[in-house]
Symmetry: C2
């Protein structure tokens, strides 16, 4: 999915985000499933509408009939494409997983500055936000769809690996220096932020819209490295707060 954000605002290094977007688009073309074009269009439309419905109304309460109604389609016709709600959830998870694999895979060797890291975290959060119904009540989703639990764990492991990659690259560039005993806890804290930001917002009941929440969460994530930037940390902190303010206004 090509994102709507104006990446020029993010002060990113060009190479990183362009590579990522291009590889994203190419791979989406490569993985287009086979089938009659008209059928594929209907299948995609079902998934698009279901995703929008789950994101806005919550997934737990929706039935296959609700989905058919939202599509203005007969339940029988919906059933022809998907045998119930669960296969729709699984197909949406397929999409999410594919895109996360591409994005998180992009961490390897490509994030070599604080600016790159900012863009990278932004893209990860934006992707999660697109599929936010999976994240609002992760534990509940995993209990109701045990088949997803292992796949969700795999994504968690990929996120962890990506965070470790990025930290290693920032250390190699002498941008951060983390006591080796603090590395695993820092990674855990970052992983937790990437996983529970939507639940935390839900529980706190803030009324931030999606972009504001994403920008706030990128800042929250990035500030975790400031204490490990030594003397450069104070200036970097000022820069991060300025950038966050500019982006939130945009």
């Amino acid at each position: 999915m090509v994102k709507s954000l104006n990446y020029d605002n993010l002060g990113r290094s060009n190479s990183f985000h362009i590579d990522l977007l291009v590889s994203n688009i190419l791979s989406r073309q490569a993985i287009l499933p086979l089938g009659e074009p008209e059928e594929m269009k209907t299948r995609d439309r079902i998934l698009d509408v279901s995703l929008a419905l789950f994101n806005s109304e919550g997934e737990a309460k929706q039935t296959a009939v609700d989905i058919a109604n939202a599509l203005d389609m007969s339940p029988g016709n919906l059933y022809y494409h998907f045998k119930g709600k669960e296969p729709i959830i699984e197909a949406l998870f397929d999409r999410f997983e594919e895109e996360m694999q591409i994005i998180l895979g992009g961490s390897h060797g490509a994030v070599t500055s604080i600016e790159d890291n900012w863009v990278f975290v932004y893209i990860v959060l934006e992707e999660i936000y697109d599929f936010r119904f999976f994240y609002r009540n992760v534990g509940d989703m995993m209990e109701r769809y045990p088949g997803l639990a292992n796949r969700f764990r795999k994504i968690l492991a990929m996120k962890r690996q990506a965070i470790e990659n990025v930290l290693a690259q920032l250390e190699k560039q002498d941008i951060v220096d983390v006591d080796r005993r603090l590395k695993a806890p820092l990674v855990q804290q970052m992983l937790s932020t990437l996983t529970f930001w939507l639940s935390h917002d839900l529980i706190e009941g803030s009324d931030r819209d999606g972009p504001a929440l994403i920008h706030d969460t990128v800042l929250q994530f990035m500030l975790l490295v400031v204490p490990y930037m030594g003397d450069a940390g104070t200036e970097a902190l000022g820069g991060m707060l300025d950038r966050h303010r500019d982006l939130s206004k945009a």
Copy 2:
């Protein structure tokens, strides 16, 4: 609830935990609801058994009949005490809320060292663990019991206040020094750790038992202050890791 932990192992300052426990016990006596002793005993037994059932089996799947079965009691008799599952959940939340108020209120003026902070976080986590079914899928619980959502938010606000109190006291003792711009994000990170540790563990599917998970989470929480301890941080870090190892063995 007088906790099972041997607090002597925690290397705490005596005054803090004793004050806390005594006030805890006294206030529990003060708030004993009125009623015939026999009825109160049954009521308490219903709550104790329901709590154990929800914690071990999850709350969502349990019905009032399941609860009656676990109590070896007729549904009619259960109904005489509680008009369904929801009032039981509410009564359990009353208990949790009372105890959290006492514990979190204990943060004011009482936590003046890293050791006190360790004990304090331990007690908070142990209390949450006692009522862990509320925390495993917080968002889901709040959706299914909208009446709890505001009360849960109040507890979140109390936790935030307690964390701010503790940080202010540690700063006053020159133990930590946090750039004022990093204070709110640090508090947020600590709050998130106290709120999502059980969900995170659930999602990761680790097989740590309760005490191990609590000890690991206290460490995770405490390590968040290390970068703000200046030169003393390195030694403090070693001390924390040693203590965590000793406690985990105990």
